[in-house]
């Protein structure tokens, strides 16, 4: 999608695009976006990274979860302009040197997706959760992953996959 120019509204107000710079998955992006463009739409529609999904667009499902400066956030409830200067990591940016991230591997091993729509959000959320370091037991992992809904009901396998990676890390 091309960068927009100024948009007039019916009462004659003119809304100017804002200059935004992000580091997305290690790559610098500079663009002009109107203030109401969400981070989710910026990623999907303007940068072309469609791995991050729009489930509800209202903070209810977690499909749009990305990492912003390492923290898991919902890109649908964030304006892109508010994240000017931030470092964003999406599902496209978590594999390293062609090697799947351990969570990606574990999701495959544990059959942790069916349609796959919630998966990018689930994996980004799990990476954020591990960085936070607050979930030790399975009950705690379930609680701290509750912001990611799965319509296919694969939750048990998702928690299995995460526990697997947590345990591997614990034994390193």
């Amino acid at each position: 999608m091309p960068s927009p120019v100024s948009v007039p509204d019916t009462s004659g107000n003119v809304f100017k695009p804002e200059k935004i710079n992000f580091l997305v998955n290690g790559q610098q992006h500079s663009m002009d976006l109107l203030p109401w463009v969400s981070l989710l739409d910026a990623l999907r529609e303007y940068i072309g990274l469609t791995g991050t999904k729009k489930g509800c667009d209202h903070g209810q499902c977690g499909a749009c979860t990305v990492l912003c400066d390492g923290d898991r956030i919902l890109s649908c409830l964030t304006l892109a302009v508010m994240k000017d200067g931030s470092e964003i990591t999406t599902i496209e940016g978590i594999a390293e040197q062609g090697q799947l991230h351990p969570l990606q591997k574990a999701f495959i091993d544990h059959d942790a997706f069916q349609c796959g729509y919630c998966t990018p959000g689930q994996i980004c959320s799990a990476i954020g959760m591990m960085k936070e370091g607050k979930a030790r037991t399975r009950t705690e992992v379930k609680e701290l992953m509750s912001g990611n809904l799965c319509r296919c009901g694969v939750n048990t396998h998702i928690i299995d996959a995460i526990m697997d990676v947590q345990n591997q890390n614990g034994h390193e």
Partner: protein
């Protein structure tokens, strides 16, 4: 969402000067953007207050309490060592709310100002006095399962949905605000309000005022506390009823008690008479249930939410018992086994 302009405030002064008609502050954005996408909230200009670093800190107060900045996120507050150690009730209540992602974004100031989750408030095709003063209340006589059983009016029966604020009410917090004509402090009990015949006004913050921080006095009840949240699913759902309890005990006798309820009224609900009643009494079910009766005096349902009265009574008793044994508590403020 309506089209809007955007600007950043880099200092408190700049924020206060920039705010005016048809403008709104944006902090985490988790409530404002949600509502703007439904055209329920509208603004011609959003003033992003995130660059104001002075609002993003947690510090000790000379008197022994703490001050939590308006821009500190709910997650950073809940996991702050001072809060975990001295105010575990606050930590617990925050962690019972929303999801980890939302708590990473949501700020303390924004949490106090979040709007109701009444279904009709969210549906612009139905009458709602809160959204459109004078249009009527669809919840009275409509489907009202999640609505208030205390302090409601004939204009509005909505509840205030915050978990964090239930703990802040129990802890006697104070809200610090700034405006061009000076600063003020509001006792937590005076911050939110009952709907009366002006339900479009959620709280006593004046137009143009900005929340800068929240002070919590020294007494945090770290030994005997509990937050119980009853909801339709185990996690990531708003409270049907929630209870925050803090006790100071001496050989099984209650020296001081705090009990606040969420999900039952247009503001966190505290009845000092019940807390006074518990003073000097043994910490037993019998007295907890008498206190519950005092708290719920005058409670009335609107048909689908009648169950909340009995539920609240049980939740109070259970949570008071849980406060005696904080080590048995589960993550997410679920009932302990």
């Amino acid at each position: 969402m309506n089209n809007f302009s955007y600007t950043r405030a880099h200092s408190l002064d700049e924020a206060i000067q920039t705010i005016g008609n048809n403008t709104k502050f944006i902090a985490g954005g988790t409530n404002l953007l949600d509502l703007m996408k439904y055209n329920i909230e509208k603004a011609g200009l959003l003033v992003d207050i995130n660059p104001i670093d002075s609002l993003r800190k947690i510090e000790l107060l000379p008197g022994g309490g703490i001050r939590i900045g308006a821009l500190v996120t709910n997650a950073a507050t809940a996991y702050h060592p001072l809060v975990e150690e001295r105010y575990p009730l606050l930590s617990k209540a925050i962690l019972a709310g929303a999801s980890a992602q939302i708590r990473n974004m949501a700020t303390n100031g924004g949490n106090l100002l979040q709007r109701t989750r009444c279904y009709y408030f969210y549906d612009p095709d139905t009458p709602c006095n809160k959204r459109e003063p004078g249009s009527g209340c669809s919840a009275i006589g409509g489907y009202n399962r999640i609505m208030a059983v205390l302090g409601a009016s004939l204009s509005c029966i909505a509840v205030f949905p915050s978990d964090m604020c239930v703990a802040l009410a129990a802890l006697d917090a104070v809200v610090n605000v700034s405006a061009p004509d000076g600063d003020r402090c509001l006792a937590f009990a005076d911050f939110h309000r009952l709907p009366g015949d002006t339900p479009h006004i959620d709280n006593n913050l004046r137009p143009g005022e900005i929340i800068t921080s929240i002070d919590i006095p020294e007494k945090g009840f770290p030994k005997n506390y509990s937050y119980l949240k009853i909801r339709d699913r185990n996690s990531y759902a708003f409270a049907l009823v929630s209870v925050a309890t803090g006790f100071e005990l001496e050989s099984g006798i209650i020296r001081e008690a705090r009990i606040a309820l969420g999900g039952v009224a247009h503001m966190p609900w505290r009845v000092l008479e019940a807390e006074d009643f518990l003073k000097g009494k043994p910490a037993t079910d019998m007295y907890f249930s008498e206190a519950a009766d005092i708290i719920l005096r005058g409670a009335a349902g609107f048909e689908h939410n009648n169950f909340k009265i009995k539920l609240a009574r049980r939740a109070i008793i259970r949570n008071c018992t849980m406060a005696l044994h904080p080590e048995t508590q589960l993550p997410g403020a679920q009932p302990s086994a």
